[in-house]
């Protein structure tokens, strides 16, 4: 099996697994307890907080542990919205191709009377700082733009966008779930006010994440109960998960350049190989792209069938974004970069990492080429394209 769906989730690293183990049976105390045994867990928790903060270049108290990226996105956006609303500011700027954790939270706020502006991401999948500058109004309370897109892997000019926000005194949040551990993230250098992280995207465990919020930005609790996380996130802390995440994050950040140097040539080999398939096109710009992301659209193909047959050939890939039922909707990301509906349905996302070999890449290229040819041969839609009854979307 070749697992080429690392944007969906990753295998845990041995370092991360080992970092978790003591907290299951040795140091299993509750960090909120009074006795020394619980305090041991509390110390471990605070040690993790400091180490995560060091990776992001912020202060430990600016770190809140959450159940993952979605919760962090929800809490960030809701907090900034409530903070803004107190001052009568109820306008939020985002983009059309955010993760649903962001888009659906914004939709809920819209129902409450917030006004949402979604910026165009162009065919490149990139937003510009100028767009943000033009969209900011006096009543704008938040700009939330993802660091890197989960489907097409484009990396946004976050530092420049955040600089505009800082100048205009608007809170800037970024969903950095796909970026952290893969590209350099430094909240001070990049002017970021709030940022969301998910551990299982960088070889950490599932079910744990981080919300960074610069001091001075009051967080609204979305899970109410005990006073854990300084009263901003109730629930006994997931110490094992947090320890695993911390170890994985340190490892990923330490090896970030080395991993990118290994992954990028493999990614480009894969792109070059798939580019040979006629009437297909890479989605998103090649220049500003996550090291492991490849995303193609093929004409005359249904993404669903493509995935089924790749599964049969032992290649785990995705099309559109995974949703709870495991079925595929036409990707809102591909529609946002202007792909027509029928082409957006025929998309393929392959997300690799530093552990791939050239042999793996060549196997994927061969498998995808075979499956695309097979499916096109039995597709009436493709026949229409070939005999000219229907126009091609792509030039070649």
């Amino acid at each position: 099996m070749i697992y080429a769906d690392n944007a969906s989730t990753t295998k845990m690293s041995i370092t991360a697994i080992n970092a978790m183990l003591p907290y299951f049976d040795n140091i299993y105390g509750n960090p909120s307890s009074l006795y020394a045994f619980g305090q041991e867990a509390k110390e471990a928790l605070e040690d993790c907080r400091a180490r995560v903060a060091a990776c992001l270049n912020c202060e430990p108290r600016e770190i809140t542990f959450t159940s993952g990226g979605s919760e962090a996105d929800n809490q960030a956006i809701i907090s900034a919205a409530r903070f803004g609303a107190k001052k009568g500011k109820k306008h939020i700027i985002s983009t059309a191709f955010e993760h649903h954790a962001v888009l659906h939270t914004l939709k809920a706020l819209e129902k409450e009377g917030f006004e949402i502006t979604l910026l165009d991401v162009h065919t490149t999948g990139l937003v510009t700082p100028e767009q943000v500058r033009d969209a900011i109004r006096d009543d704008t309370c938040l700009v939330t733009i993802m660091f890197a897109n989960n489907e097409i892997g484009t990396v946004e000019p976050i530092k420049e966008i955040a600089e505009v926000c800082r100048e205009k005194k608007v809170v800037f949040h970024t969903d950095a779930v796909q970026a952290v551990g893969h590209v350099k993230v430094d909240v001070q250098e990049q002017n970021i006010d709030m940022l969301s992280i998910s551990a299982h995207k960088f070889h950490g465990p599932k079910g744990v994440g981080v919300l960074y919020a610069k001091k001075g930005i009051p967080l609204t609790s979305v899970i109410n109960g005990g006073a854990q996380e300084r009263g901003k996130r109730a629930g006994t802390e997931n110490i094992a998960g947090i320890a695993g995440m911390t170890a994985a994050l340190e490892e990923a950040c330490k090896n970030i350049d080395e991993n990118a140097a290994k992954t990028i040539p493999l990614r480009d080999r894969l792109i070059a190989g798939l580019d040979k398939i006629p009437y297909g096109e890479l989605n998103g710009t090649l220049e500003k792209r996550l090291p492991g992301n490849v995303n193609f659209c093929f004409e005359g193909i249904e993404g669903e069938s493509l995935l089924l047959l790749l599964d049969d050939k032992g290649v785990c890939a995705s099309s559109g974004s995974a949703c709870t039922s495991g079925s595929l909707d036409p990707s809102h990301v591909l529609l946002a970069i202007g792909r027509p509906h029928e082409v957006a349905h025929g998309s393929l996302r392959l997300t690799i990492n530093e552990e791939f070999t050239e042999k793996d890449i060549d196997y994927i290229i061969e498998a995808v080429t075979d499956v695309v040819t097979y499916l096109r041969n039995m597709s009436p839609f493709w026949r229409d394209l070939v005999n000219g009854a229907r126009p091609h979307v792509f030039a070649k």
Binding site: E304, S305, L308, D312, T324, S325, G326, S327, D329, M378
Partner: protein, 360 residues
């Protein structure tokens, strides 16, 4: 041999999957996602296609050790089933969307997927039988007449029948549930789905109005002679034979006799006015692939829950037929399907036309 099992998450298709697996077929389970119900409050357990049903189907497939996939057919379902449903009501007719769904989703869309996956058969949990008589395949009623679903399957052609299996055709519902219980399927005692899946609360008019964004204008209830009896709330709210919910007080009970979109009226009359012995059917599918040469006598059924009635059938041009019942029938409803039977064998079926077809 490889089989693609259409699994709704209900007990029937789960047992169908089990039976195929035990017969040694190489099985793949799948559920078709037909519409998005995430914004609508779906009452639990009454319809198919909810996320819980997907989980149930997945659990059964996992238990049986078969690969399982969810296919997204929402776009096609919108176009081919829901739009047609709306269109039909707007023409003053009463659609049966389950028949369109079987035709376009299960036995067209799924058939394409089965081909892609290299499957020889599509399998569903319908209660009906397929047999081969000489060179021809025939569709027959289920052995258990109380569960027979052959009425909704008349759109089959020979090629589809050759590649379809109904493993429950010889079982009773009780036997099916027993098999489910013996195998510990979590849905063994799940109730049968009853409603139209995309109209879980029965309020189809609201769904139509929401989808089209139209408000269907009020109009007049009239008698056959044209005299006005009162005001109706838009033609899509009514169906032939309806008595309840008319909001008209009259000395005698009144029933909907016909619905006329061209002048936005709903004609009411007495119970006996509802009876008629003749109807025309269009888009008729002869399952054998051959249209009979002349008129003949057989049984016909004009709604799902009705016993077949003897009738004389005359094939006409353009896939139409004329049916003349031996006895007048109550509330022949345009938009519903008329299905012909020769004993247990389904000859074919089509959609009942409006009797004032030319006026539309």
């Amino acid at each position: 041999m490889k089989a693609l099992i259409a699994m709704s998450g209900g007990v029937d298709s789960s047992v169908a999957a089990y039976l195929m697996k035990s017969q040694g077929f190489d099985c793949i389970g799948c559920t078709m996602k037909l519409f998005d119900n995430k914004d609508e409050q779906i009452s639990q357990g009454k319809t198919c296609c909810s996320l819980e049903d997907v989980e149930d189907a997945r659990s059964v497939a996992f238990r049986l050790g078969m690969p399982y996939y969810v296919f997204n057919f929402t776009g096609d379902f919108d176009k081919k089933v829901i739009d047609n449903f709306i269109n039909c009501y707007e023409k003053g007719m009463t659609p049966n969307p389950c028949i369109d769904c079987n035709r376009y989703m299960k036995f067209d869309g799924l058939y394409e997927r089965a081909k892609v996956l290299g499957c020889d058969y599509i399998v569903t949990g319908h209660y009906a039988r397929i047999e081969k008589h000489g060179e021809k395949f025939v569709l027959k009623k289920a052995l258990d007449s109380t569960k027979d679903q052959s009425y909704v399957l008349y759109s089959f052609n020979q090629e589809q029948l050759a590649h379809t299996m109904f493993p429950l055709g010889e079982l009773t519902k009780v036997q099916t549930r027993e098999i489910a219980e013996q195998n510990g399927f979590i849905n063994a005692s799940k109730p049968d789905s009853q409603d139209i899946c995309f109209v879980p609360d029965g309020d189809y008019a609201r769904i139509i109005e929401e989808r089209t964004g139209k408000v269907y204008p009020k109009g007049s209830f009239v008698r056959k002679d044209g005299s006005v009896l009162g005001e109706h709330k838009g033609i899509i709210h009514y169906t032939i034979g309806q008595r309840k919910g008319l909001g008209i007080s009259a000395p005698e009970p009144l029933f909907v006799l016909s619905i006329n979109p061209h002048n936005n009226t709903v004609v009411l009359g007495s119970h006996e006015d509802l009876f008629c012995d003749e109807l025309y059917v269009s888009g008729f599918n002869w399952i054998s692939g051959e249209t009979p040469r002349g008129a003949f006598h057989c049984n016909a059924k004009i709604r799902y829950r009705q016993k077949e009635q003897p009738a004389t059938v005359a094939p006409l041009d353009n896939s139409r037929i004329k049916i003349k019942f031996d006895e007048p029938q109550r509330a022949i409803t345009p938009g519903q399907s008329a299905v012909l039977y020769d004993g247990d064998v389904v000859l074919g079926g089509g959609i009942i036309e409006r009797n004032d077809y030319e006026q539309i």
